[in-house]
């Protein structure tokens, strides 16, 4: 899935790490040497506080995005046009839930707790990918989400498999492997619609028109405005810049759109022979920040649905604990 707001600050900025003692200075030196040698940092290794915080923020935002990302697609499970599409959509949403779990677990290796992370999400303090603050209006949207939203996410996630933090990198390897069907099922669903009636083809085009620019914004602010990028790159947390990833996505998507038979809603989109890439128009960053800051069409609804799901699940968590407690008491009694 779904990255992006990774580079978005949750709260106050991080201070540069300052070694407080000779011992810390030596550990910091070892850390830097390992990073420079493209080595991996593991949970038990010493790491600068800012590195830890950056990772907790990024991995937890990534986890939140997986979980919130279940909502726009989950809305369509009951309305999928066939049993086959319903099964596929359930499998995909189920995968996203699993991906959230891998990522929360990876974040927990850094010393944060599941409860803290969920609390940050539910209180609105933590960000998640703002692409999910847009509605999925009809079935074509579900195809487009798979093709473009998951396509953009995969582009973002592949380099994360080489992240310097071992547990995150390994979680991403698993995620990317499982995700390979997500984009294909979306594209295939759209191919099927394009073979249908003119009305169906119009639905696909309309959905592409509504999602295209939002997907380009998923890669985050331009490199020139992205404050976390430079430090993240130096630490090997981020490997490829926002703008480079966005360009790769555009270059990969244009031929896919052609085969599908849809146009991409950008009059400035054209092949640039000299650059060897497609040129494209300006992204509306005001809209992006407006949605990140809580004013998208679905921000409130998504968060409310997420909080309600958590609260409605409280009895299950309570029952599991009560059952475990009962089993424990029973085995103590039997042993006596």
């Amino acid at each position: 899935m779904y990255t992006q707001s990774f580079s978005v600050q949750d709260g106050p900025g991080l201070k540069a790490v300052e070694a407080t003692s000779a011992e810390d200075a030596k550990l910091a030196e070892q850390f830097e040497a390992r990073i420079d040698a493209d080595g991996r940092i593991e949970a038990q290794d010493w790491m600068p506080e800012a590195y830890r915080k950056t990772l907790v923020r990024q991995i937890s935002q990534h986890a939140h995005s997986e979980i919130v990302g279940m909502l726009p697609e989950g809305n369509w499970i009951l309305r999928a046009p066939s049993l086959k599409r319903k099964c596929i959509l359930i499998a995909k949403v189920q995968d996203e839930g699993g991906h959230g779990l891998y990522l929360y677990s990876a974040a927990e290796t850094l010393g944060t707790s599941r409860a803290e992370m969920l609390d940050a999400l539910h209180s609105g303090k933590a960000k998640y990918s703002s692409i999910f603050n847009y509605p999925t209006l009809n079935w074509a949207d579900i195809g487009v989400v798979g093709w473009l939203v998951d396509g953009a996410a995969i582009m973002n996630q592949i380099p994360l498999c080489r992240c310097s933090y071992g547990p995150y990198a390994r979680a991403m390897v698993r995620v990317c492997k499982e995700e390979s069907f997500h984009q294909r099922q979306g594209y295939e669903a759209l191919l099927t619609m394009m073979k249908g009636t003119q009305e169906q083809r119009d639905m696909v085009q309309d959905a592409v028109n509504r999602w295209w620019w939002k997907c380009l914004a998923m890669f985050g602010p331009p490199d020139s405005d992205s404050h976390h990028s430079a430090q993240g790159m130096r630490w090997g947390i981020k490997r490829i810049s926002n703008d480079e990833l966005r360009q790769k996505f555009v270059d990969a998507t244009v031929p896919q759109a052609k085969v599908l038979g849809v146009s991409l809603p950008d009059p400035k989109l054209r092949w640039n022979e000299a650059r060897g890439h497609y040129d494209f128009g300006e992204i509306d960053w005001n809209e992006f920040w407006d949605v990140v800051n809580g004013n998208g069409p679905c921000n409130k609804e998504r968060l409310a649905t997420r909080v309600k799901a958590h609260e409605d699940g409280q009895w299950v968590r309570d029952a599991a604990l009560a059952y475990a407690e009962k089993q424990r008491n029973r085995s103590i009694k039997e042993a006596a």
Binding site: E42, A91, F181, Y187, E188
Partner: protein
């Protein structure tokens, strides 16, 4: 000679070795040891004599909960007919390239 089994009081430990920086620990076997420290020392001698690892975990075998092998079909068969979880289930025209 004593008839007491040599390892009577030494619990069993499962050994996990990380073969290379960045990779996960993989289970590679087990051994008896009196405590965690000794288990680590012995795991080093038994499982990493040819530099097979850069990190070792030892876990008391008794701490591992496994499924009942008789439940294998109940647990795993439900996944066998969900072929749509695999990317190859979807026909994508060749000219689209890698997706």
């Amino acid at each position: 000679m004593s008839t007491k089994p040599a390892l009577k009081d030494w619990p069993l430990w499962e050994v996990f070795v990380r073969s290379k920086q960045g990779l996960e620990h993989k289970h590679c076997g087990s051994l008896h040891a009196a405590d965690a420290k000794q288990a680590l020392d012995m795991a080093r001698d038994v499982y990493t004599r040819r530099q097979e690892g850069v990190s070792i975990w030892v876990v008391p075998s008794a701490m591992i909960t496994a499924n009942n092998p008789d439940d294998k079909s109940e647990l795993f068969d439900p996944a066998s007919d969900k072929i749509y979880r695999h990317p190859t289930f979807y026909d994508i025209p060749q000219e689209v390239g890698h997706m």
